[in-house]
């Protein structure tokens, strides 16, 4: 199959991939970069569209959208919807995209109480008041996972998912297989 007669196969069209971090910590993106030199092999197969890695601000038509983080403010919801309407496949990457994760641990508290404590009453702060610049997206009352707002095709758990799990997901998808994770790669922590 890979003999000299077939040394120069026709280059397949590269898959377009977009990534974003919503209410996340960029840890999943860092774990993605932990695939190390495999990223060079990956770049033969994919091309990045909107992503913190390219600084492209809006998503064009894509084959794959990788979403890190849950939804904690209105802008997160807009970005998620932009990804869903442009990407054929959406993957929820990491604990926060899947169940809200650490940011969702504010969910049993009242949003106003949180903001007042952080910006007004807590000792040692400048007490400058709750920020209300019109450019700031409004926080949601609760943090939500992304599957509560759009259809999600695949889920990749972990905090963060190990680089090998991200690699497995990508190579499975690129090969046209349903992604699966065995023991050791499927982790919620």
């Amino acid at each position: 199959m890979n003999g000299p007669m077939n040394a120069a196969p026709v280059a397949a069209k590269k898959l377009k991939v977009a990534t974003t971090s919503l209410a996340g910590c960029f840890g999943c993106h860092m774990s993605f970069l932990d695939i190390d030199e495999r990223i060079i092999k990956l770049l033969d197969l994919i091309e990045f569209d909107r992503s913190p890695l390219t600084d492209i601000k809006h998503c064009g038509p894509c084959d794959l959208g990788l979403i890190e983080g849950g939804l904690c403010n209105a802008e997160n919801v807009h970005v998620l919807r932009e990804f869903r309407s442009n990407c054929k496949i959406i993957v929820a990457v990491g604990a926060c995209a899947i169940n809200g994760g650490l940011p969702a641990q504010r969910n049993h508290l009242d949003l106003r109480d949180i903001l007042e404590e952080v910006y007004q009453t807590e000792a040692g702060l400048s007490h400058g008041g709750i920020p209300n610049d019109p450019e700031l997206p409004l926080p949601l009352n609760q943090v939500h996972p992304i599957h509560e707002v759009v259809k999600v095709d695949y889920f990749l758990p972990g905090c963060p998912p190990p680089a090998d799990a991200i690699w497995k997901l990508l190579t499975d998808l690129l090969a046209g297989r349903t992604p699966t994770l065995g023991h050791g790669l499927l982790h919620y922590d």
Partner: protein
């Protein structure tokens, strides 16, 4: 008495049993994994989590409560049953606050390990995010009710083994039902609960936690990090 009188079929394999054993007990003795959460080998079956549901001669039943009978045909790890079990696990995960990355029990947790075994990739349903305050009053034990799955093993262990009756189930409905502490104040510090109690060492999830011990074994080196739960059927249970 020949062998057929003392065996039944589990997923197509002959499984021996001792008369009086439940399907779950016979399977455990043979090292065969039937997913379960509320069942514990040292205590009478509670039959509440329904994760151990199998099909016996074509009908659903809880393997922890059904007695093994010679010649019965039992389905266990079929796609149909594992699909239903995965859905039940998803319900457990959305009903509580199960944030594994910040949980001390991660890697030693039966709920998490069972979800790995059944390849649960997402909670699927909308999250409840219930408000369940913790009880940190006791000097040696933290109770984090966010992770409680109402298996009631602590209730049974405290009553039957420790003779203390520290815990009780109470309340109604998904958000109302919870573990209550048997003291005037409702706080664990005002009971005679102790680290050495059986009940302090039986929680399958991350509710009853020993203070100052949380990360003695690092994440990644824990029981179910190393070996999947279905390969630890004969290992001693906490």
């Amino acid at each position: 008495m020949n062998d057929t009188n003392n065996s039944f079929q589990l997923d197509g394999e002959d499984l021996p049993f001792t008369p009086g054993q439940t399907i779950m007990q016979a399977a455990k003795a043979a090292g065969v994994y039937i997913p379960h959460l509320c069942w514990h080998p040292d205590f009478p079956a509670h039959g509440s989590c329904k994760l151990c549901t199998v099909k016996v001669n074509g009908r659903f039943g809880s393997s922890c409560t059904m007695e093994a009978q010679a010649g019965m045909t039992v389905e266990n790890r079929t796609a149909e049953l594992d699909d239903k079990r995965r859905t039940m696990l998803q319900m457990f995960f959305v009903e509580g606050n199960h944030f594994c990355p910040s949980c001390e029990k991660s890697g030693d947790c039966a709920l998490q390990a069972t979800a790995y075994e059944l390849k649960m990739m997402s909670p699927h349903f909308d999250m409840f995010y219930p408000d369940r305050p913790v009880d940190a009053s006791h000097p040696d034990i933290l109770l984090d009710f966010n992770r409680c799955i109402m298996c009631s093993l602590c209730v049974t262990a405290s009553r039957e083994v420790d003779g203390k009756n520290v815990f009780a189930m109470g309340g109604r409905g998904i958000l109302g039902r919870r573990i209550h502490i048997n003291s005037e104040s409702g706080r664990l510090a005002d009971t005679d609960f102790a680290l050495s109690d059986r009940a302090a060492n039986i929680c399958p999830v991350g509710v009853i936690l020993k203070k100052r011990k949380g990360f003695a074994v690092p994440i990644g080196d824990r029981r179910y990090d190393k070996t999947p739960i279905n390969e630890q059927v004969k290992e001693p249970t906490a």
